[in-house]
Each structure stands twice: as C-alpha cells, then as structure tokens.
C-alpha cells in the first residue's frame, strides 16, 4: 500500500462481506420457501425475503465498488485521498441507513414502512429492486455525491490514468442513472422505461465500466504488463459495452407496450452484449500469459480469471440464451431469467469485488505479497466451492426454466398448465438448487475462514522482472 489513506477501503470491504453473508442467508430462506411454501411464514414472507436478498446484493456491491475505488484511485493518481474523514463519515451514514432500511423491511410491513418514511411526499416505493423508502434513496444519492466529490478531488490533483478515468466515468453514470429511481410515472409503460433506465443501464452499462476498470487495475498490479497495453484493451472493452448495452436496453421493452421496432433493436444489440464480456476473458488470459512477473498472490489471480470467465458465461451466454424476441416470447419471466440473473451477478459483480478484496485486503493487513500459502489454498477452496455451486444453481434453474416453458408457455392456452401446477412439476429442480445453495454457503464459510489464517506470502525467487510495488 503506497498511501495511508487507501486504508479507508477496509471498513467498506468488511461491511460488504457482512452484507454478502446476509444475502446468502436470505437466499437459502427463499430457496426453502420455493419448496416448502410456508417456511418461516408469517415471520418472513417470501416477498420480504426476496426484497432483502436483492437489496442486500445491490447495497453490498455498492460498498464493494466504493471500497475498490477508495483503494485504487489514490494509488493510480499517486496522491493521498482528498478527505479520508469524509470517506469515514459517508461509510457510517451509508452503513446505518442501509441497516435501518433492511430492518425496516424485516420488522415493519411494507405499507407501514411507506407511511413512516413519508413516501406520499415523493412516491418512489414499490418497484422491484428499487423498493427502498424515498428517504433511503435520497440518502444513497447524497452518499454517492459525497463519495464522487472525494474521489474526483483526489483524481484531479494527481496523475490522470485511463483506469481512473474509466472508473470515475462509470461511477458518475451510476449516480446520474440513480436519479431515474425518483421518477415514478403512473403510466405503467413509461414507469417500466424509467425503471429499466436504472436497472439495465446500471448492470449492463456503467457497472461494466466499473468492473473493467477494477479488473484492469488488478491485472496491472498482478502481471506487470505495460499499462499502455492494458489501457488499450480497456478502451475497446468499454466502447463495446456501451455500443451494445445502451440500445440493448431494448430487450426489456419487448412486451411492456412500446412500439414494435424494439423487438428488432433489442434483439440485435443485446445479441452482441456478450462481446465485451468475451473480450474481458481474452483480456484477462492474454495479460496473465504475457505477465512479466509471477505474483505470489495466486488467489487474486484466480479470482481475476474467474470473474472474466463467469461473467462471460452468466451475463454473456446465459443472457444471450433468451434475449432474442422470438425466444423471449416464451421464456420471459421464467426460471431461465433467474438462472441468468444468479450467474451474471455472481460472475460479473460479486467476483470482481472479491477479486479486488483478494488483492487489496492482504496489503492493507501488512502482507504486501499476499496471504500465506495456507490461507490462499483455503481461499481458493472457497472460490471453487462457491463458483461450482453457482454453476449448479444456474444449471438447475435453467432446467426448471426449460421445463416451465415446456409445460406452461409452449402449449396452447387450453392445454397449458397453470403457474402453480407447473411449479409442482419442477419442484425437483428447486430441491437440487437448494442443495447447491447449501454448498455455496459452505464455500462462503470456507472463504471467510481464510481471513483468519495468519502469515504472509514472501517475495521469493519466483518473482521475475520489476518489483511488485511498481507499475
């Protein structure tokens, strides 16, 4: 760690991981409720558990992105963070507001929560993933503005690098698009437009910029490949992400009431959305093959390769499976969507946050070359357990989705099974998914365990070329 103020990333990472654990617990509750309908009812109804599961994901990824940014921007800019104090204040504001919101979901019914938080003054609640009370949404906006101020002041006073510029562009996009969550038109079609402007343009637009920038930073550090080469790849990847992702939003507009031309535009552009993810795979593997040094932090390298591959599979391949309009006509809103959602979020965004954590946390703990070999082996066990479990979760949900489409969507209206009758027929897949989910939890426990193993990697003869701390 070159700059003391980078250390402010630590609480962000720790809190992100705590929320990650919470997300997985609620994932297990949900998985159980799929097969045992009244599990934990009435204490935790399905809709509440689902809201907590998805909201925890969003919030912990935001904590992860912020931690990553606080860590890498000062080092890239070669200067101390503008205000570590502001970063600490915003951490506590965000952590307290986030926790209160989740507790609100759990202990107050949603309508009462809307009343208490005076949703009537500016109604924004009630939309999937954007369920947060208006006051929380305002809080998120303020925290992000303060965070951006801090980061931009840091970047402006120091060295301007492509990694910083791309990362900050992505973060500004994240903040600007969030503003659409405050607009809640009564017309359902318009409502869906603006809702997707947040949801889609985050995960298939600006978040890809954030992911690519973090990946580029980690690869510069781990491989020692020239910055110029990595920056060139970064430019091409983000150009492709934006070209395909922005008009690709159209794949959400197929059946919500807008003009027919979205069937074409949405299909064509989203069919190309796997491209930037495929290029990230090429990018990661090419850079690692051309490495100028063998970094002792093998676990971080594994996460970096893993995130590229899993993002391509989850976001790219599983997205493409059902993105063409004639196919989506049958698959829309089935378990196939759930399969895609799980692997895409895990591969692209969970894993990129775990990548930077794997690289940065050992350094912040005074282990500049990574954790000890034992700790890395345990961490890699966590990697494989979680990743393979996620592959199985995705495959089982895909199986459930295909059967659901076959029974419920393809037959003519008189012969098709009802939604609930179909659910009974695919229960076996849900049980299998539940088992895979338990293995994921086990992987998470192993992963957490790796943080408690002492010792550090040494700068041994394996390390070729320049010293680890340069670039």
């Amino acid at each position: 760690m070159k700059y003391e103020s980078q250390r402010v990333a630590m609480p962000y990472f720790i809190f992100a991981l705590v929320l990650f654990a919470g997300q997985i617990v609620f994932g297990l509750v949900l998985g159980m409720q799929y097969v045992v309908g009244d599990f934990l009812f009435p204490e935790i109804p399905f809709n509440v558990a689902r809201m907590v599961h998805t909201n925890l994901l969003i919030v912990w990824l935001l904590f992860g992105f912020m931690g990553a940014t606080y860590y890498l921007v000062p080092e890239e800019a070669q200067t101390e963070l503008y205000s570590p104090l502001l970063a600490w204040i915003l951490f506590w504001v965000f952590a307290v507001a986030g926790t209160l919101t989740i507790l609100g979901y759990l202990f107050v019914d949603y309508a009462t929560l809307a009343d208490i938080t005076m949703n009537k003054l500016l109604p924004t609640m009630g939309r999937e993933f954007l369920e947060q009370p208006t006051v929380t949404k305002i809080g998120i906006a303020l925290v992000v503005v303060g965070f951006l101020f801090n980061i931009m002041m840091t970047a402006l006073k120091g060295r301007k690098t492509v990694v910083n510029i791309v990362l900050i562009t992505g973060l500004i996009g994240l903040a600007v698009l969030w503003l659409f969550s405050f607009y809640n038109p009564s017309n359902l079609t318009t409502d869906k437009y603006f809702w997707w402007f947040v949801v889609h343009l985050w995960v298939e637009g600006v978040w890809e910029l954030i992911m690519a920038a973090i990946l580029a930073y980690v690869l510069i550090k781990l491989t020692g490949v020239d910055r110029e080469v990595i920056e060139k790849w970064l430019y091409v990847i983000i150009a492709m992400a934006l070209i395909t992702g922005i008009i690709g939003t159209g794949h959400h507009f197929f059946w919500i009431g807008p003009p027919e031309y979205w069937l074409w535009l949405g299909s064509v552009f989203s069919a190309l959305e796997p491209l930037p993810f495929f290029m990230m795979v090429l990018f990661a593997f090419t850079m690692i093959n051309r490495r100028k040094r063998n970094h002792p932090n093998k676990a971080a390298i594994l996460w970096a390769m893993g995130t590229a591959v899993m993002a391509f599979l989850g976001a790219g391949v599983w997205g493409f499976l059902h993105t063409l309009a004639p196919i989506n006509y049958y698959t829309h809103g089935t378990q196939l969507t759930a399969a895609h959602g799980h692997m895409a979020f895990y591969g692209a965004y969970v894993m990129i946050v775990l990548t930077i954590i794997s690289y940065a946390v050992p350094i912040m703990r005074g282990r500049p070359y990574g954790n000890s070999n034992t700790a890395q082996v345990v961490e890699m066990w966590g990697f494989w357990l979680m990743t393979i479990s996620m592959v199985f979760i995705t495959l089982f949900l895909t199986g459930a989705g295909i059967l659901q489409i076959w029974l419920q969507r393809i037959p003519d209206s008189g012969e098709a099974l009802s939604f609930m009758a179909t659910q009974d027929n695919i229960a076996l897949f849900y049980w299998a998914r539940m088992i895979a989910g338990c293995f994921f939890m086990a992987g998470l426990v192993v992963y957490f365990g790796s943080f408690f193993i002492k010792g550090q990697a040494s700068f041994d003869e394996e390390v070729r070329g320049a010293t680890i701390q340069d670039a």
Partner: protein, 194 residues
C-alpha cells in the same frame, strides 16, 4: 537464366493502424452485419411493404451521398499516402475530406426532414424502422468519423505527425473507411435493390 529466389521474404508488412481500432471495427461491422441480415429476412417475409417503402425514398440524394463519401475517402487515403511519404499537402486533404463529407450530412438531414414531414418515422412499418435506424446509426458514425478527421487535421497542423509514426493517422483513416464501407452496402440495399 532468371534467378528465382525461393527464400521466404522478410515480411515487414504490418496491419495499418492500431489493433484496438481493428477490433472495434470488426465489432461495429458485426452490429451492422446482423442488422443487414435482419433487413434481408424481414424483406423476404414482407416484400410489398419494403417495395412501397423504397418507392418513398429519394435515390438521387442517396447517390449524391454515396459519391460524397467515396470522394472524402479518396482524400483521406491520399492524405495517409502523403504523410507516409513525408510529402506536403496532408492537412488540406483532410480538411477537404471533411468538407466533402458534409455534403453527406446535409443531404441526409434533408432526407430525414423530408420524410418526417410526409409522416414517416421509426414506427411507420418494418421498412422504415430499418431505414431510420440503420441510416441514423450510420449517420452518427459519420459524425464521429468527421470528429476524428478534424482531430487528425489539427494534429497535422500542429506538427504532431511527421510520418515516422503512422499509428494515429492510419487508425483514424481505417475507422473512416469502415464508415464508408458500411454505406456502400447500405445504399444499394435500401435504395436500389428491388
């Protein structure tokens, strides 16, 4: 007896421009390529709509636009040649290319205004969806290409390019020729082929 040298030539030929620009170009061509296939499929499913749509277009303006883009490309290509040979006249060729390409942008805007005032838009039918989307998407690429040419011309004027490193100039020129190439498919496909 003529001596035949079978020894492998020392191949010093390199891809003009930056590899990153080529990846970008291929990705762009993939987008247009898929749209072209979509156009062909949609037309085979509903030839009457496509025939009627084509009748409403202005082929002469299309032809003028084609000539403008090809001429602009000629000046870009000769500008690259001049720079590579370290000869004068690079900058005015680039400015001329930009000026000629503006015939295209003005012509295209005239067409849009004309069609729009007649009541045609993106939602009219499948033909006009493709027409407006494909040509406007291409139009945006032309604008970007013009911006790139302006940057190149300014850099040449500032003496940033002296012909020893052709990477920037060739990359910009490759992008411009891609834009040109796409139009050479678009024009016959939309305006001409019955």
């Amino acid at each position: 007896m003529t001596h035949l040298n079978l020894a492998p030539e020392t191949d010093t030929r390199q891809l003009p421009g930056d590899i990153a620009v080529w990846i970008f170009i291929f990705a762009e061509l993939a987008v247009f390529g898929i749209m072209f296939i979509g156009f062909a499929v949609a037309r085979s499913l509903d030839p009457a709509t496509f025939h009627a749509g084509r009748e409403a277009l202005h082929p002469i303006i299309g032809l003028i636009n084609t000539a403008a883009l090809i001429t602009a490309s000629y000046f870009v290509a000769t500008a690259v040649h001049q720079l590579r040979q370290k000869l004068p006249g690079v900058q005015w060729r680039l400015w001329l290319a930009i000026a000629v390409s503006c015939i295209y942008t003005v012509g295209k805007m005239y067409e849009y205004v004309n069609l729009y005032s007649q009541g045609y838009n993106l939602g009219t039918d499948t033909f006009f969806m493709f027409y407006f989307f494909l040509t406007f998407f291409h139009f945006m690429h032309v604008i970007l290409g013009q911006v790139i040419l302006v940057v190149l011309a300014v850099k040449v004027g500032n003496g940033d390019y002296d012909g020893s490193d052709m990477n920037g100039m060739e990359s910009g020129a490759c992008y411009w020729h891609m834009v040109d190439l796409v139009w050479l498919v678009l024009f016959p496909m939309i305006y001409v082929l019955a």
